[in-house]
Amino acid sequence: MFIGFYHVPFNKRISMTNIENQIFSSYQRNPDLFDEIYDKNGKIKEVYQKLFNLYGEHSINDYVSLNNKAKSSFFNQGITFQVYGENNVQEKIFPFDLFPRIIDQEEWDIIERGSIQRSKALNLFLWDIYHDKKILKDKVVPIDLITSSANYLDQMNGVNPPGGIYNHISGTDVIKHKDGKYYVLEDNIRCPSGVSYVICNRTALKKALFGVFNHYQTHTVTNYAENLLELLESVKPKGVDVPTVVVITPGMYNSAFYEHSYLAKTMGVELVEGRDLFVENDFVYMKTIKGPEKVDVIYRRVDDQFIDPLEFNPDSVLGVPGLFAAYKKGNVTLANAPGTGVADDKAVYTYMPQIIKYYLNEEPILNNVHTYHCGRPDELKYVLEHIHELVIKPVDEAGGYGISIGNILTKAEIEKVKAEIKESPRKYVAQPIMSLSVHPTYIDDTESFEQRHVDLRTFTVLGKDKEFVLKGGLTRVALKRGNLIVNSSQGGGSKDTWVLKK
C-alpha cells in the first residue's frame, strides 16, 4: 500500500545518507547536461530535497501504479488526442509523469517579469507597425520583415483595437541552457495552447500525491480562467455594459478542442463554432434556443485566415461572413486581434532585444538565442557552412514542424535542408543548438527515471491596465532520449510545474 506516503509527517525526516532512494537508484546523470534537480557536484538542489526524499521512500512499483492511475483518469476524462492509423483512429493521452518540476520564487520572478516585458514590447510593436511604422523608419527592424510576411494584414492598418491590445494572450517558450540562464525560444501570440494541460496536470498530481503539497507552498494555477475572463470583459466594445463573451473553436476535431471546451466551461461562457454566429448590420449574434443573442467579445482559437470568408480565405467554413467588418467597426472585440501573427514570426523574434529596447527603453530580462537570418547573404553563407551545429527553423510554422537539428542529420539530409534553404532563404532562420536543461522524468519503457530535456511555456494575459502571468506554466518534456523537440505534436510529454511562494 501506498497510504503511508500521504501521511508521512515531514518532521519524521530521514537523513538522506541513510536511505536507499529506490526511485532514483538507477538514475544516470550525464554531467555535461544541466540537471534541474542536481547541482554540478551531484548533490540534490535544496528546493528539490524534500520532494526527493518523499518520492524516494517508495518503490518504483508504487510510483508506477500511481502514475497509471493518473493516466487512466486523463483517459476517462477524454483529455486525449487522436492518432490516425491506417485502419483505425486511436485515442492517446498526452504523456505525463507525476514527478513535478519546481521553480523557486527567485527564478520565477525573472521568468515572470521577462514574459510581461516581452508581451508588452510585442504589443507596442504591433501597434506601431499597424500605425506609424516608426520602428521601420528608424531602421531598427528591416521593412521586409513586414512586406514579406504572410501574417501581416493590410486590413489592420490604422485599426485601433479596444484598449490598444493586440496580443491579449501570449505563450512564451523559455528554456534553461547549460549556463543555467533562461533563454526564450519562441513567442507564441497567435493562439497559444496548452494552458488546460497546466491545470489538468496539477489536478492529477493533487489527486495522486496530495501529501507532497503539505511540504511546499505552491502557487495555484486554477485562477487562469478568471483572469482571462476579466481581461476579455475589460476589452469590450464601446457602449456595451455587461459584455457577452464567447470562445470560438474550429470544432471538436481540432487537436486543441479539449482546451477550448475547458476554457469556455471554466469561464462559464459559450463555446461556439463559426456556424453558430452570424453578422447582421455589422453586429455579431449567436443562435441560441431562444433566438439571436448579441456577442461582444470573442476569444478566438481560429487563425486569421479563417475568421471571415468574405475578407480572408473564401473557402473557410470555420469563420463567420462579415465578422471582420463588425470588428473593424468596433462592434465586437477579437482576442487576440487579427494580424498579431506577424510578430509571431521567428524572424521578428530575432529582433526582440532591439524591440524591447526601442519601445520600453529597458534591457531584455530574458535572453534571446542568437539567430541567423538566411535572408541575409552573409548569414546565409554561415548557416550553409555550419548546418551540423545549428538548428534550422522555418519562420512561420508552429508546433515544432519543419525543424531540423544539424548534429543529428545524415549527409543526405543536410544536403536536402541546404537545398530547401537556398530555395527560399527568407523562410528559414538558424540558431546554435541550445542544450536544454534536463529533468528526471519517468520513462514507461524502462520503468525508471531518466534525464530528459525540458522547456517551459508561460502564459501571459495582457490588458490595458493589467498583466497576469500564470504562476506555473507548461513544462514540456522531450520523451525520446537525447531529443530536443518538446512539442506535443512531436511526441513530447509534460509535467506539473510548481512555482514556490517563497
Binding site: K137, I143, L153, N157, L310, K329
Partner: protein, 286 residues
C-alpha cells in the same frame, strides 16, 4: 472655367442559377462608385429577386460594400443595382512636373517613402514576376516618372493583345507573358508589376468604363491602375486603352491586385453546378 459635372447612371445586374437548392448563401458586392473629389452625390438603389434584406457595410480596406444573405432556400437569384452620381470633367494632364527630375527620383529612394507606400510596392501573387521578367521594362531616368509611366502604358498596350476567353480570374503573369493575350485585369496586373519593380507605388483599380466612349473593355467591370508620383500624387493609367484615366473611368475601389477588389464574393453552400452572368451599363448625360 470650371465645367458642369456630368450626371452618370450605372446599372449593374447579376444573375445566379444553381442546379441544386441553396440553403445558405452570403454575397458581398464591391460595386458602389467611390466618393472622391471627382465623383460625388452617389445614390444607390439595390434590389434582388428574393426580396432579401440588403446590408451596407465597409470592407477591410475601407470601401463600401453591399451584403445579401437570403433567409430561405432558392435555386435562382438576380440582383440589380442602379447608381446615380455626378462626375466632374477631368483633365488628366492638369499637373506640373518639377523641372529638376532628380527631386522626384530621389523621393522614390527615400526610406520613409518606401515604408509609407509599402502596401503598393510589394509583389502579390497576381503581380509576381521572376527576376528576368522584372527587366522587361526599365525606366529611363532622363525623362520624368510620368513620362515613363505613360510609355509603360503604351508599351503594355502594344505588348498584350486584348482578347477575352484566353485568361480568367486567377491567371498569373507568367501565363499571360506566354500567350500575350488577355483582358483588362491582366493589363492592370502587368502594369502594377512593372511599375512596382521600378519603385513606383501602384494600385490596381476596379470600376466601370463608360462604354459609349468607344473604349475597349467588356460589359462587365473594368480595371486600370493608379500610380503615385512624388510631387503630383495618384495618377490613373488605363493600359487596356493606352490612355490616362479620365471622366469615363468610374472608380469603385483600389487594392494591391484583383484579390482586394473582387466585385462579387459569394459564400455558397450547394452541390451541383451554377451559372453566373453579370452585365454593366453606363449612361451619362451632359
Amino acid at each position: 472655367m470650371k465645367t458642369m459635372p456630368r450626371d452618370f447612371e450605372v446599372t449593374y445586374k447579376a444573375e445566379n442559377i444553381y442546379d441544386d437548392w441553396v440553403h445558405d448563401a452570403h454575397w458581398q458586392f464591391l460595386i458602389i462608385p467611390f466618393e472622391n473629389e471627382s465623383q460625388h452625390e452617389v445614390q444607390i438603389e439595390f434590389s434582388n429577386s428574393l426580396y432579401a434584406n440588403t446590408e451596407f457595410s465597409i470592407n477591410g480596406f475601407g470601401f463600401k460594400t453591399l451584403r445579401v444573405h437570403p433567409k430561405k432556400k432558392f435555386k435562382q437569384i438576380s440582383f440589380e443595382a442602379k447608381f446615380k452620381f455626378k462626375k466632374e470633367e477631368i483633365d488628366p494632364y492638369d499637373f506640373n512636373i518639377n523641372s529638376d527630375l532628380s527631386v522626384e527620383y530621389n523621393e522614390l529612394e527615400h526610406f520613409d517613402f518606401k515604408i509609407t507606400h509599402e502596401r503598393f510596392l510589394k509583389q502579390t501573387i497576381y503581380t509576381k514576376l521572376n527576376s528576368i521578367q522584372d527587366l522587361l521594362y526599365k525606366f529611363d531616368t532622363t525623362v520624368s516618372i510620368f513620362q515613363n509611366l505613360e510609355n509603360l502604358n503604351h508599351w503594355i498596350y502594344k505588348f498584350i493583345q486584348f482578347k477575352t476567353g484566353v485568361t480568367k480570374v486567377g491567371t498569373l503573369l507568367k501565363d499571360l507573358l506566354l500567350n500575350k493575350q488577355g483582358v483588362c485585369q491582366d493589363f492592370a496586373h502587368l502594369f502594377c508589376a512593372l511599375a512596382r519593380t521600378n519603385g513606383i507605388p501602384t494600385r490596381y483599380v476596379s470600376g466601370y468604363l463608360n462604354q459609349n466612349s468607344g473604349y475597349m473593355g467588356d460589359s462587365q467591370m473594368h480595371a486600370w491602375v493608379e500610380c503615385y508620383i512624388p510631387g503630383i500624387g495618384w495618377k490613373g493609367f488605363d493600359p487596356t486603352n493606352n490612355i490616362l484615366a479620365n471622366t469615363n473611368h468610374i472608380k469603385v475601389c483600389h487594392g494591391k491586385d484583383y484579390n482586394d477588389c473582387s466585385p462579387l464574393k459569394g459564400i455558397i453552400h450547394t452541390g451541383g453546378q451554377n451559372k453566373t452572368t453579370h452585365t454593366v451599363m453606363v449612361q451619362s448625360q451632359q
